[in-house]
């Protein structure tokens, strides 16, 4: 699996974010032995089927929240956790603040913020 990316060497960029036991984690700082017995979900495991995307993936596509795609796996994984942590209720300031650990050099964040705000209610109604 090559979806999860390494974008830096100081745990800053967030391209490596995966979900471990329901929480988003920068995987670059986790040793494999530390996740013994844990449930790890990467970007590859999000879409419910080959034809259907997770609501966050859908929102990223609909809102043009990705360009080169390199930061995207980490962005999406962080965003899903953000939505859940905030009980599916987000405003722009919260989204921007909570994206602190994810760098994107292409989009200027504008559409990422839009996508996450759009995905929150979509995730709630989809029950994910």
């Amino acid at each position: 699996m090559t979806g999860t990316h390494v974008g830096c060497d100081t745990s800053q960029c967030g391209a490596c974010v995966v979900e471990i036991d329901g929480k988003s984690v920068k995987s670059c700082t986790i040793l494999a032995v530390q996740v013994e017995g844990s449930k790890v979900t990467t970007i590859e495991g999000l879409a419910p089927s080959a034809d259907k995307l997770h609501p966050m993936q859908e929102a990223f596509r609909d809102n043009h929240a990705l360009q080169c795609g390199f930061c995207t796996p980490g962005m999406v994984m962080s965003a899903i956790d953000m939505v859940k942590r905030n009980n599916y209720q987000l405003d722009e300031a919260t989204v921007r603040r909570e994206l602190e650990g994810n760098l994107c050099r292409c989009t200027g964040y504008h559409n990422i913020v839009k996508a996450i705000l759009a995905a929150a209610p979509a995730m709630k109604s989809a029950g994910v």
């Binding site: 974008g7 960029c13 590859e44 360009q67 080169c68 390199f70 602190e100 964040y109 504008h110 559409n111």
Partner: protein, 793 residues
């Protein structure tokens, strides 16, 4: 046009699904059987003589396959890396061209210069072995302070460039400009620094290579914006592998912003070493390597003066710039501060006389080359800073002073005094729209309200012009370019009616697979899901120039349109035969050939099938097949323009600058996919604001160490540094390309720094502060405010 997916539609990107599901394929993702891994030992010194390199112990380390040094590459008669643009100095002499060895021979010239290449069974073993290489350096004084790089006695970087001068170049007639200054009612003067930046594409550079002993063929996978140009340079100048024996593939590329245009030593070495090692070699930069060795951007020190009459009409502009080239001349470095900078100094204005002198200096720092905008942001920053300063000095409204000097709409095409002829433009409605969107009229009320909260509020304008889609080939050739500036396209229908479109442009995030498909769909009526855009592989695409300088749609898209014309022309002949009609009577519309004035028609798919299964076909007049090539060489640059307005608030207690609002109104000509264009503008603005407020590549002036060498030290723009942006458009189609398009990739980054800094300066003006340099970090602003307080005390 077909509603919903053709030209002008917000079509969701076709490439997104793979990126969103983790199935994108970047260079580092490639599974290569029996791969080895390369690690490059870098110089820890900015300037040193290499006395000895001892690899004996390192070679004996576990897993080491081979170690190469500059001695090996020199013995193999490998050529050095090249600079592909020869700039002639003011005496007509070509620029100084110091040797750029692929690996250091006896001298290292910047922190990160390459000293040795270790190839091992794993990357960890390669790194361990690199630590065991013993290099004895004789450390020399470093020259890293650009403002003094050309001073007498500054440490010399190359013997081939005495006094560290690469060229002393000029444009315009100095005497005429001086005469105009002598008659001026007012002269505004500006000393300004364009801070050095590190591009920071999120995907670090990477290269992998494989050599096939049986055929003698090499394959190089590289994070390149222009694989054909990379292959040409490697073949013709560096490695000597014939072009037909070298395939360069750039799969998905994770951003570039210019930094992946150039031919670098790591990809060269990986390719060269693959045949010597006999196994594939993979290399991926660590982020700290990217900081040290990706070509940096900007880095100018400039003095400018603007002469005006008493009404504020611009009479003349003179500009003196020292531009940093870094330690070696990168692929396009010499062109950036000359033909992409000084030729833009007219901006949107009628300034009749302009003189610019540019001195390019080598220093003990990483090479500097094109970075998003490349020369044009530097020009815009000078012009828009000095115009705003002039408005303050003349006590004129900053928008009014701009309007007074705009090139009138009826004056296009407009010949500037600095070589370019602007093809089209209509500037007043753009600034009017930006003023409307940003509620400029309501600004003073907002400033007063902010003041009541103890905040300093400021507003800044930046009206930019950009020349992109570098062209035409004969002109750039006469200016010293080593390559043409056309683009290629091939439209290859398959017998079943679906189509592959090969383009010489190469997306590294721009969404070509969507935008280019929209062109084909719109013009030929082929459904989107029947169109495949193929790019980034020299084996499958015609020779092309790649993606940089906002050229892909204007030049590459135009090549595609030219190829569709050929498809239609051929299709008409086949359709005429099938419908037993005269070719002159056949029309093509919405994917169907029709005989004018009749109900006879035949769909394109049927024509394509007939062309591949020519049982009923005019074989005497038309060849079988439906596969057309086109090359498009533009008649001129394209000239996007626009105005950005930024509004900031500064906390005088902390020096913190907050961007409250940022408006951009652009004229990109016709727009194919507004969604993608907006994304380009957003990203550009953030890079521009990043330069203005936070980003800076800093070398220690004594040791030459890169002190901003990681994300801990180099501030990248983050989501919470920005508001949502407000965008608007005005359209004057480009008159000389078939789509009427201009470029949109760089505009945001070109205009934003001046808009932000003019806002910062406006906010600080009540404190008597006249000038602040980029980046306007809280430390910088706080110190500036303290200085103003001390001066007032």
């Amino acid at each position: 046009m077909t509603a919903g997916t053709g030209i002008g539609a917000r079509v969701p990107r076709r490439e997104d699904k793979r990126f969103l599901t983790g199935t994108g394929r970047y260079v580092d993702d490639l599974p290569l059987a029996r791969a080895t891994y390369a690690y490059f030992l870098r110089s820890p010194h900015a300037h040193a003589k290499i006395k000895t390199i001892d690899t004996t112990a390192a070679k004996a380390m576990p897993g080491v396959v081979e170690i190469f040094t500059g001695k090996d590459t020199a013995e193999s008669k490998m050529g050095g890396l090249i600079c592909g643009w020869v700039v002639k100095d003011k005496n007509g002499e070509p620029h100084k061209a110091p040797a750029h060895p692929v690996m250091a021979l006896d001298t290292v010239r910047y922190v990160g210069d390459t000293v040795a290449m270790v190839v091992a069974n794993s990357i960890d073993e390669a790194k361990d072995a690199a630590e065991a290489i013993k290099v004895d350096y004789d450390v020399k004084p470093a020259n890293v302070d650009l403002a003094h790089a050309l001073d007498k006695g500054a440490p010399e970087v190359h013997p081939e460039a005495p006094g560290n001068l690469i060229y002393d170049w000029e444009i315009g007639v100095k005497a005429d400009v001086e005469a105009a200054f002598a008659k001026a009612a007012h002269v505004t003067k500006l000393d300004i620094v364009n801070n050095r930046l590190i591009p920071n594409a999120m995907e670090p550079r990477a290269a992998a290579a494989e050599y096939d002993k049986g055929t003698g063929n090499y394959t190089l996978w590289s994070t390149s914006q222009n694989p054909h140009v990379l292959r040409l340079i490697l073949s013709a100048f560096v490695l000597g592998i014939p072009e037909h024996k070298l395939r360069v593939v750039a799969p998905d590329v994770g951003g570039g912003f210019g930094s992946k245009i150039f031919c670098y030593n790591e990809e060269t070495m990986v390719c060269w070493a693959a045949s010597r090692v006999g196994r594939p070699i993979k290399w991926t930069a660590e982020r700290s390597e990217s900081f040290m060795t990706d070509a940096h951007g900007r880095d100018h020190v400039t003095h400018a003066e603007l002469a005006m009459d008493k009404e504020g009409k611009f009479l003349a502009l003179k500009v003196e710039t020292i531009a940093n080239m870094g330690a070696y001349l990168s692929t396009f470095s010499t062109a950036v501060p000359t033909y992409l900078y000084a030729t833009l100094l007219a901006g949107q204005y009628t300034t009749p006389l302009i003189y610019a002198n540019v001195k390019a200096a080598v220093t003990h720092t990483a090479p500097v080359d094109a970075y998003r905008g490349a020369g044009r942001p530097e020009a815009t920053f000078v012009i828009e800073s000095i115009v705003s300063k002039a408005a303050v000095e003349m006590k004129m409204d900053t928008a009014d002073l701009r309007r007074k000097n705009f090139i009138p709409t009826e004056a296009f095409p407009y010949q500037t005094p600095v070589a370019l002829q602007y093809d089209s433009g209509n500037y007043p409605p753009i600034i009017d729209e930006a003023i409307k969107i940003s509620d400029y009229k309501g600004f003073e009320a907002r400033r007063a309200e902010a003041k009541s909260r103890g905040k300093l509020r400021g507003i800044g304008f930046s009206s930019y012009i950009e020349a992109c889609g570098l062209a035409p080939s004969n002109v750039v050739g006469s200016l010293g370019a080593g390559v043409g500036q056309w683009e290629s396209a091939q439209i290859k229908f398959n017998p079943t009616g679906n189509v592959q479109v090969m383009t010489g442009a190469h997306s590294h995030g721009q969404g070509h697979e969507t935008t280019f498909a929209q062109l084909i769909h719109d013009k030929l009526g082929v459904p989107m899901d029947q169109i495949e855009i193929v790019h980034g592989d020299t084996a499958t695409t015609p020779f092309g120039m790649g993606t940089y300088g906002s050229r892909s749609l204007a030049v590459g898209g135009s090549a595609i349109m030219k190829a569709t014309d050929k498809i239609i022309a051929k299709g008409k002949k086949v359709a005429a035969h099938l419908m037993e009609a005269d070719v002159a009577d056949v029309e093509f519309e919405n994917g169907t050939f029709k005989v004018a004035g009749t109900d006879k028609s035949v769909p394109l798919g049927q024509v394509v099938f007939a062309a591949y299964v020519p049982h009923n076909y005019p074989l005497a007049e038309v060849e079988p097949g439906m596969d057309e090539n086109a090359f498009y060489d533009p008649a001129n640059f394209v000239y996007p323009s626009g105005t950005q307005i930024c509004e900031v608030e500064i906390d005088p207690e902390t020096g913190e600058v907050e961007v409250i609002a940022h408006t951009a109104v652009d004229d990109f000509g016709n727009i194919i996919n507004p969604m993608i264009v907006e994304g380009q503008v957003h990203g550009g603005i953030v890079q521009g604001v990043g330069q203005a407020l936070m980003e800076a590549a800093v070398y220690d002036k004594t040791t030459g160490q890169l002190t901003s060498g990681s994300y801990m030290d180099y501030t990248m723009p983050r989501a919470d540094n920005f508001p949502s942006f407000k965008l608007g458009y005005k359209t004057t189609p480009c008159p000389h390309n078939p789509l009427g398009v201009k470029g949109c990739g760089e505009a945001g980054a070109i205009a934003a720094p001046a808009a932000v800094m003019n806002a910062v300066r406006d906010a600080l003006a009540p404190l008597g502060i006249k000038h602040v340099e980029m980046p306007a970090t809280s430390l910088n602003i706080w110190q500036t405010i303290q200085g103003a307080h001390r001066a007032a005390a």
